[in-house]
């Protein structure tokens, strides 16, 4: 028993000097010290803590970079979501656009059953979503409106705004030309801070930024609806421009005063007759070459 206790004390490094002497006397002493000495050779390699710490810090740095890589797919998902939400939002708030080409007319029924006839080379835009709150339209070109009764109906053009409550009117907004003709009810026209209320038959015409007063008309609808363009004291340039839109042709003019005033009309269904209609009254001659028409003094 004595022996075992001594060995145990030796194992826990608890021998006092007296006990150590006793331990030395044990027959096991030599064997135990030899074993202990030999065991020291099994000591694992000393860690060079500075080098190891360096290694660890490098590993930690690359690790945190990897965590950034983990962010990448997350960002991708977020980007896709953003695109989806964005395009959904964009398409639902997107305006409905209607555009006509050369020689094309379009009938449009608006969400409130108002009717619009769009003349050639014109665009009309409105928003279906907000239609119930405000009847707003953007017009570029010429259109004839039959507005259903209801809230304020406003047409925005580059030249000014036209607002009505329920009526029939025509708007023509082209280069150097802004014309509104009221056919029924009343129409409010706003142009460059001036505003005017039109009664049936009255018209509002701006030519080259100048207001032109015109007599009342007895027409109940614009001519172009019935495939005819009619002009009363209009500069010849506007006539040619309208002709180009209706027939998809281009004019070249020589020695002609395009500001000369023209009254008359041309039909939209026969090029030759139409050409005669706009040339004979002014004593002009025309030559046709594919889509190019040149005008000359006779």
């Amino acid at each position: 028993m004595e022996r075992e206790v001594l060995i145990k004390k030796w194992l826990s490094n608890n021998l006092n000097s007296q006990e150590f002497q006793a331990f030395k006397q044990l027959e096991d002493f030599n064997e135990l010290t030899r074993l202990n000495a030999a065991l020291q050779d099994f000591k694992p390699q000393e860690l060079e803590s500075d080098i190891e710490l360096e290694r660890l810090n490098i590993a930690l740095k690359t690790k945190s970079k990897k965590q950034n890589n983990w962010l990448k797919p997350f960002m991708r998902i977020a980007a896709i979501l953003a695109i989806c939400i964005g395009s959904y939002y964009y398409t639902t708030t997107l305006n409905t656009n209607i555009a006509t080409e050369f020689a094309q007319k379009e009938n449009i029924v608006l969400p409130d059953d108002s009717q619009v006839k769009l003349n050639a080379k014109s665009t009309l835009a409105f928003n279906k979503k907000s239609w119930e709150d405000a009847r707003n339209l953007d017009l570029n070109g010429e259109a004839y409106f039959k507005v259903a009764k209801g809230s304020k109906f406003t047409v925005h053009t580059t030249a000014g705004n036209i607002s009505v409550l329920g009526t029939e009117f025509n708007i023509n907004n082209r280069n150097n030309l802004f014309e509104v003709i009221c056919y029924e009810g009343s129409v409010k026209v706003e142009h460059n801070k001036t505003s005017r209320i039109l009664k049936p038959g009255e018209s509002f015409l701006i030519l080259d930024n100048k207001l032109v007063e015109r007599p009342k008309t007895d027409d109940t609808s614009p001519f172009w609806i019935n495939n005819e363009s009619s002009f009363k004291s209009m500069p010849y340039a506007q006539v040619i421009a309208e002709f180009e839109r209706q027939y998809n042709v281009t004019f070249s003019v020589n020695n002609i005063d395009i500001n000369e005033v023209f009254s008359g009309s041309f039909a939209h269904n026969n090029l030759d007759i139409a050409l005669q209609a706009i040339t004979i009254p002014l004593n002009l001659a025309y030559t046709k070459n594919n889509n190019k028409i040149s005008l000359k003094r006779e």
Binding site: L11, L35, F42, K43, S49, E52
Partner: protein
């Protein structure tokens, strides 16, 4: 209640001092338990990486046991209960100038026997015994690391010694 200086170990200087304090012990522990074929050095590194990643959750007092548990688990993920063979240093500094060939041979044989005997120890015995003998750890320290009582540590160490001596003499 005394206020604790640090709630976690996310500060770099704190973490570095922990590394200097515990890396060697952890490395040796893993070495004794699993041998060096499974690279205790790398597992030590990995355990410290895990510690850093969890630095917010680990208080300085818990860091040591966290490290040893993680290191142990990392090893267990890889071991397939293969026999652990510990290497001894082959290039032994010469203590004796007048070695006879018989003495050298006997010494070599003794080391081989010791190596085999160590491999034959149970894992629990070997870890406690080598931590005590080579690292000079106190019973209490070993008990903390292994999560057992000091009495059990004493028993394991003494048992290991007895078995080693028996094996060596029989080999």
């Amino acid at each position: 209640m005394p206020k604790k200086l640090h709630n976690n170990i996310c500060e770099e200087h704190l973490f570095n001092s922990l590394f200097k304090k515990h890396s060697q012990d952890l490395n040796n522990f893993l070495h004794y338990k699993f041998g060096e074929r499974l690279n205790p050095k790398d597992k030590t590194q990995e355990a410290f990486i895990k510690l850093w990643e969890n630095c917010k959750k680990v208080t300085p007092e818990k860091a040591k046991s966290f490290l040893f548990t993680i290191g142990n688990n990392l090893m267990l993920n890889e071991t397939k209960h293969q026999k652990v063979v510990l290497k001894y240093q082959q290039t032994k500094p010469k203590h004796y100038t007048n070695e006879t060939p018989e003495f050298v041979l006997e010494e070599k044989q003794y080391m081989k026997k010791l190596q085999i005997a160590l491999a034959n120890l149970s894992e629990a015995q070997r870890v406690a015994f080598l931590m005590n003998r080579i690292d000079g750890k106190k019973h209490k320290e070993i008990a903390e690391v292994l999560g057992i009582s000091t009495k059990a540590v004493e028993k394991r160490i003494y048992g290991a010694l007895k078995k080693l001596r028996k094996d060596i003499s029989e080999l």
